[in-house]
C-alpha cells in the first residue's frame, strides 16, 4: 500500500466551484453492499453479492470507484477465493462539455469500456455505442442509503431495450 499515492489520488470532496456538477456522482462517496442480478440471453438469471466503493479523486474533479464481486471480506483466506470481477471506474467531469467522461477497467474479464455520462432528470445515464449497439448504465432512485442501477442494451437504435443486469446497492459506510 502506498499512502503517498492514495493522498495524491483521493480527495475529501468536490473541487471548489464544481460542487453541484461533481456531486452528481460524488453523492455516492462511500462503500456499498451490492446485490447483482444478471439476465443472460442464453441462460437463467443468476445473482451474486459484491461491493462497490466510491470516492472523490484528482483534487475533487473526478469520482472513482472500485467494483468487486464478491465483497472483499470474502476474498483471500484459507480457501484462496479471488475476485470473479473487479474493476476500476474513472469519471472525470468536463465543464466545457457539461458531461462526464467515464472509463471502466476490468482486468479480470479483460475489458475496457468508455462511456459518456449525463444527468437525465433525477437519474444518471452512462451511454456508449459499439458494434451497432447502444448500451446504457443507469443509476436511479438514489438516496443516501441506497440506489438502484441497471444496464440496458438496444440493437435497434434505441427503439427497444433489453435488461441485462441490475444492482441493488445499500450503503455500508
Amino acid at each position: 500500500m502506498n499512502p503517498q499515492l492514495l493522498n495524491s489520488l483521493l480527495a475529501d470532496g468536490p473541487a471548489p466551484g464544481m460542487t453541484k456538477e461533481v456531486d452528481l456522482f460524488g453523492r455516492l462517496n462511500g462503500r456499498w453492499r451490492t446485490l447483482i442480478t444478471y439476465f443472460p440471453l442464453d441462460g437463467p438469471e443468476r445473482r451474486e453479492e459484491g461491493e462497490w466503493t466510491f470516492g472523490y479523486a484528482l483534487e475533487g474533479r473526478a469520482v472513482i470507484d472500485v467494483w468487486q464481486v464478491p465483497p472483499r471480506a470474502q476474498l483471500g483466506g484459507a480457501n484462496g477465493t479471488s475476485s470473479h470481477e473487479c474493476g476500476l471506474c474513472v469519471r472525470v467531469y468536463d465543464p466545457r462539455l457539461k458531461l462526464w467522461r467515464f472509463t471502466f477497467h476490468g482486468p479480470v474479464l479483460g475489458v475496457t469500456i468508455d462511456m459518456l455520462a449525463f444527468a437525465v432528470g433525477s437519474d444518471i445515464v452512462q451511454e456508449r455505442f459499439y458494434g451497432g449497439r447502444c448500451e446504457r448504465w443507469i443509476f436511479s432512485d438514489i438516496s443516501h442509503e441506497r440506489f438502484f442501477w441497471r444496464s440496458v442494451l438496444s440493437t435497434d437504435g434505441g427503439v427497444s431495450w433489453r435488461l441485462t443486469q441490475t444492482i441493488e446497492a445499500r450503503r455500508e459506510m
Binding site: 467522461r101 456508449r128 447502444c134 437504435g157
Partner: protein
C-alpha cells in the same frame, strides 16, 4: 400573437431601439461534415467570412456581428461517440446557443451564418433557453439519419446528415440531451420540413424514410414546386398557427436550391428552388412574425472559386428576412 419578449420575460433592461434589429452570428463550423473525397476538410467553415466580404452585414442592415472561433476538425473518432467530431459539436453548440440566447433576450433577431447543418443544434438550444419553440427546416434533405436507420457499427456518422433527427431527440445523448432543456430540442409535431427532394425516389425508404411515420410535417420540393411557394408558405403558417408556435426557429440549408443555380454545397441536387423562390418563401414566413431567428448553412466557398454564388446568396438572405414583422419587443 404573443410577443417573444413577453414569453422570454427578460427584456426589461434592454434598449428599446434594438428591438427586432438583426444580430449576425458567424458560426464557421464544418464539424458535421465528412471529409472531402481527397481526405481534406470540407470548406463550409469559410462561408461566414466569404458572405461578409460579399456584403452580408450591410445587405441585412445588421446592427452587430458576433463571431465564434472556428472549432478544430478531427478526422479520427472522438472519445465515447460514433459521431464525427461529436464532442466538439456539443461544445460548439453550447457556445453558439449562448450567443443566440443573448441576442434573443435583447429583443434582436439572430441571423446565424454557418457552417454546416450541425449548427442547428446550437441555434435551437439558444432559442429554447429563450423560450422559443418549433422549427421550420428548409433543406433538400431531411437530415434524419439516426441509429435506428443508419449503420453506426462500421463508420463514423456525420451530424450534418442527422441534424433533424438529433434536434427531435433521436440518437446519442451527447447531441440530444441538453442542459436545462433535456430532450428533445423540438417535438416532432412542432417541426415542418420543407424541401426533401428524394422522398419519391426508390431508396428513400431504405435511408430515412421512417420520417413519414413521425409527427413531423413534411412538404417535399416536388410538392412545393407543384403547389407554388405562396401556397406552401400558407400551409406552413397554418401548421404553426394550429400548434400555437409563435417563436419558431428557421433553418435553411442552401442545398434546397437547385444545383443548377447553387452547386457550391456539400450535396447538390435537383429539383430545387431558384433563388427567387427561396427568397419568397423565407420572406413570407418571416413576415408572419412567427420566426424569431434563422440560420443559413452549407454554402461551401471552396466549391465556388470565383465567388459566383456568394452575392446571389447574400441577396437571397436579405430579400428573405427584409420584410420580417417585428412582433417582439421590450416587455411593457
Amino acid at each position: 400573437m404573443a410577443s417573444f419578449a413577453a414569453i422570454s420575460g427578460s427584456l426589461e433592461d434592454e434598449t428599446p431601439s434594438l428591438s427586432g434589429a438583426i444580430s449576425l452570428i458567424l458560426a464557421p463550423s464544418n464539424l458535421g461534415l465528412r471529409p472531402n473525397e481527397n481526405g481534406s476538410q470540407p470548406g463550409a467553415w469559410r462561408a461566414p467570412q466569404v458572405l461578409m466580404n460579399a456584403g452580408l452585414a450591410a445587405a441585412v442592415s445588421a446592427t452587430d456581428v458576433l463571431s465564434l472561433k472556428r472549432p478544430a476538425y478531427e478526422l479520427e473518432a472522438q472519445f465515447g461517440t460514433t459521431i464525427r467530431n461529436g464532442l466538439s459539436i456539443r461544445a460548439f453548440s453550447f457556445e453558439l446557443g449562448e450567443k443566440v440566447h443573448e441576442v434573443l433576450r435583447s429583443g434582436r433577431f439572430p441571423l446565424v451564418v454557418g457552417g454546416d447543418c450541425s449548427i442547428l443544434l446550437g441555434c435551437l438550444y439558444g432559442a429554447r433557453l429563450a423560450g422559443g419553440r418549433g422549427l421550420v427546416h428548409i433543406d433538400g434533405h431531411s437530415d434524419f439519419f439516426h441509429p435506428g436507420n443508419y449503420d453506426t457499427a462500421n463508420r463514423l456518422s456525420s451530424a450534418a446528415g442527422m441534424d433533424l433527427a438529433l434536434a427531435s431527440g433521436r440518437g446519442e445523448l451527447l447531441l440530444t440531451h441538453w442542459l436545462e432543456i433535456g430532450r428533445p430540442l423540438v417535438q416532432d409535431a412542432d417541426v415542418v420540413q420543407v424541401g426533401e427532394r428524394d422522398a419519391e425516389g426508390p431508396d428513400f425508404n431504405e435511408s430515412y424514410g421512417d420520417i413519414v411515420r413521425t409527427g413531423i410535417m413534411q412538404i417535399t420540393i416536388q410538392g412545393v414546386l407543384a403547389e407554388g411557394v405562396d401556397n406552401t408558405a400558407r400551409r406552413v403558417l397554418t401548421r404553426l398557427e394550429s400548434r400555437e408556435l409563435d417563436n419558431v426557429w428557421l433553418h435553411v440549408d442552401c442545398d434546397v436550391l437547385d444545383q443548377t443555380v447553387m452547386p457550391a454545397v456539400d450535396s447538390p441536387g435537383r429539383p430545387g428552388f431558384n433563388f427567387q423562390q427561396l427568397g419568397i418563401l423565407i420572406n413570407e414566413l418571416c413576415h408572419s412574425g412567427r420566426i424569431v431567428g434563422a440560420d443559413f448553412t452549407i454554402y461551401d466557398p471552396e466549391r465556388d472559386p470565383h465567388g459566383k454564388y456568394s452575392k446571389l446568396l447574400v441577396d437571397c438572405i436579405a430579400r428573405g428576412i427584409s420584410n420580417r414583422r417585428l412582433e417582439w419587443g421590450p416587455a411593457q
